[in-house]
């Protein structure tokens, strides 16, 4: 009987530590969920003269993928984005973050271009407005231009199937 209290305390500690170990300290919940996409006016990566704004992207639910040629994890994620783009299930808008135009275009030439269009954010201004801190990041944006989900780090096949695709389907059905 006298061991009940210490044992209880021990079990509670173990549970708390187990929860603590499972939490990812790098996961920072975004305050932008359910907020509209911040306004922007930036050049198109492929076409220097063209300016892209919010009006170019809204319409139907899609993904916004933040990437850079200097980002190693983007390379890991890339084949998945290529397959997703080829499947035609959703369109992916690129946001090239703090990169040079030459490097970015060469990177797309080498690995393939899954993006319908790529916004060229050399200064990282839109990245800052989107709270980007760990490229690659992917935002799921609905037809109204509202951010619904944010993936920090590469999209894994598991997250794609269990989170992103179901959300796209639900959001697509609403219109």
């Amino acid at each position: 009987m006298r061991y009940v209290i210490p044992l209880g305390v021990f079990i509670v500690l173990v549970i708390l530590l187990a929860i603590g170990l499972r939490l990812d300290p790098r996961y920072v919940p975004s305050p932008l969920i359910d907020k509209p996409m911040p306004p922007f006016e930036l050049p198109d990566l492929a076409n220097e003269a063209a300016v892209l704004t919010n009006s170019d992207i809204s319409g139907k639910p899609h993904l916004l993928n933040v990437w850079a040629s200097w980002c190693a994890a983007c390379r890991t994620e890339h084949p998945l984005l290529m397959r997703l783009a080829q499947s035609g299930e959703t369109s992916i808008l690129g946001l090239n973050y703090k990169d040079t135009r030459d490097d970015a275009l060469a990177w797309l030439g080498r690995h393939g271009d899954p993006y319908t269009q790529t916004v060229f954010d050399h200064a990282g201004k839109l990245g800052l407005d989107l709270g980007v801190y760990g490229v690659p990041e992917t935002f799921l944006i609905d037809s109204e231009g509202v951010i619904r989900y944010k993936q920090i780090g590469p999209i894994t096949p598991d997250i794609l199937e269990s989170v992103i695709k179901p959300m796209l389907e639900i959001l697509g059905r609403k219109n």
Partner: protein, 153 residues
């Protein structure tokens, strides 16, 4: 000798140059500089999470420092600057999180633990200092009986 001096001056100049590149901030008043520096201590870098913006060498920290600098020079007050960061990066950028339902345990948890610990100490201390309890009337009679029984034979 002259050559050595020249080399020394060259490296001296180089060291100043790199220092200047690290801190490209100029302020019109000391108050602005103080505000800038205080804000950098208060805001946390998201890449190297246990460093403030002023400590971190991450690219992101540099971008955020530039942003804070630009806003200080523009004349935005501290509340506006902090709010700007929170709107984009969440409460996480603050070293001192706001008191709200999600952070309630964080703020008051230690106090609750202290109270519980204090209560436990008091309970144990009392248990140990309390001497043997007084005997009831019946028990006293019993003792008396046993004592007298012993003396009889």
């Amino acid at each position: 000798m002259k050559k050595a001096l020249q080399t020394f001056c060259f490296f001296l100049a180089l060291s100043f140059a790199s220092y200047a590149a690290d801190t490209p901030v100029t302020f019109t008043s000391a108050i602005e500089r103080e505000r800038y520096e205080a804000l950098l201590e208060e805001l946390r870098c998201l890449v190297c999470q246990n460093q403030s913006l002023s400590d971190s060498h991450a690219d992101l920290a540099q971008d955020l420092r530039d942003q804070v600098y630009a806003m200080v020079v523009e004349g935005k007050d501290n509340v506006q600057i902090v709010q700007f960061m929170v709107e984009r990066y969440g409460d996480f950028v603050l070293y001192k999180p706001p008191v709200k339902s999600a952070t309630w345990f964080l703020w008051f948890g230690p106090l609750i633990l202290l109270v519980v610990a204090f209560a436990i100490v008091v309970i144990f201390a009392r248990r140990h200092t309390r001497g043997p309890r007084a005997l009831s009337k019946e028990e006293q009679n019993q003792v008396q009986m046993l004592l007298t029984q012993d003396q009889e034979p």
